[in-house]
Symmetry: C2
Subunit: 141 residues, 2 copies
């Protein structure tokens, strides 16, 4: 493989498709989001609206920081607050036709990148593990 | 840069040194570990013993899964249990003299790799962000 091959690689071959990505909706209670994160074991997952458009990203860190009070972690807030109040808006994003080099650069500071099509519909995520697996093959040949 | 340069690169140039790595001890209560994870914002951190030897890795996921009961998350267990009861033993490990290609391969399935010297003393961690930053430079030249 030459570095030419890296630049021409279609990122969709490395993307986890939307139907295999754990996600929640912005109107869900924080408790529901925490249970999905615990059941899947993921640190962070995308937040979508009913039309499969990306709203943000929610994580165990964001949820716990949202309910921590002065004296203790106020667990009863999990049922009272919704995902929208704790999620990170404007997560790192790429479009279906973007090149692999842009994906590698963006993945330096983000554990995964959300992918959408040109109408803004969520298509899946590109996690660092997929990029590293591809680069490992590329360097070994 | 040629692929020769990648193979010769010393991983210690990419490692976060031990004094900059947030960590806890295996005898600390889970509550202490959760507060360190919340304050730093990290998903997972190394667990060391008093002689700076690696014991394992602890994460928000491991702590929450350790205290979840049938009906609810049993938060009172945070003060009763210690890190050792929840941590993952035998985390991914490299030695100071190991090569970069071994680090890339190991980082496919792990967010960070712990580094120790030939006496087993913890030297720091190699996070995926460091590897991706190096690879991004390598591919762009
Ligand atoms: N159930 C599991 N099975 C196998 N390996 C697992 C795993 N859970 C975590 N890992 C490993 O640990 C890495 C960090 O996971 P984390 O949950 O912090 O961070 C994950 C998670 O926040 C998110 N993610 C990955 N797959 C997802 C999915 N299917 N749905 C939603 N989010 C996902 O993307 C981040 C980066 O994922 P990446 O694969 O690069 O890196 C993953 C993967 O290598
Ligand atoms: N406070 C912060 N400032 C800037 N960026 C931040 C950050 N916290 C997280 N990030 C970004 O998010 C990525 C995932 O962080 P996470 O905490 O899940 O996963 C982290 C964390 O579990 C651990 N880690 C990183 N630096 C650490 C340190 N100084 N001490 C202990 N653990 C560390 O290694 C994993 C991978 O780190 P990596 O740098 O590849 O990837 C980090 C980094 O790109």
């Amino acid at each position: 493989m030459t570095s030419e091959d890296v630049f021409k690689k279609n990122i969709m071959e490395l993307v986890i498709p939307a139907d295999k990505v754990a996600h929640v909706q912005s109107i869900n209670p924080l408790e529901h989001a925490l249970l999905v994160l615990m059941k899947t074991g993921y640190s962070a997952i995308p937040v979508l609206d009913r039309d499969s458009r990306l709203q943000g990203v929610i994580s165990k860190t964001l949820i716990l920081n949202n309910i921590v009070g002065i004296e203790r972690i106020e667990y009863e807030k999990l049922g009272e607050r919704i995902v929208e109040s704790a999620m990170k808006k404007n997560p790192p994003l790429l479009r279906v036709g973007d090149d692999l080099l842009s994906a590698i650069k963006l993945s330096i500071d983000h554990a995964f990148i959300c992918i959408e099509d040109d109408k803004g519909i969520f298509q899946g995520i590109l996690p660092r593990s997929s990029l590293l697996k591809f680069l490992n093959h590329y360097l070994r040949d």
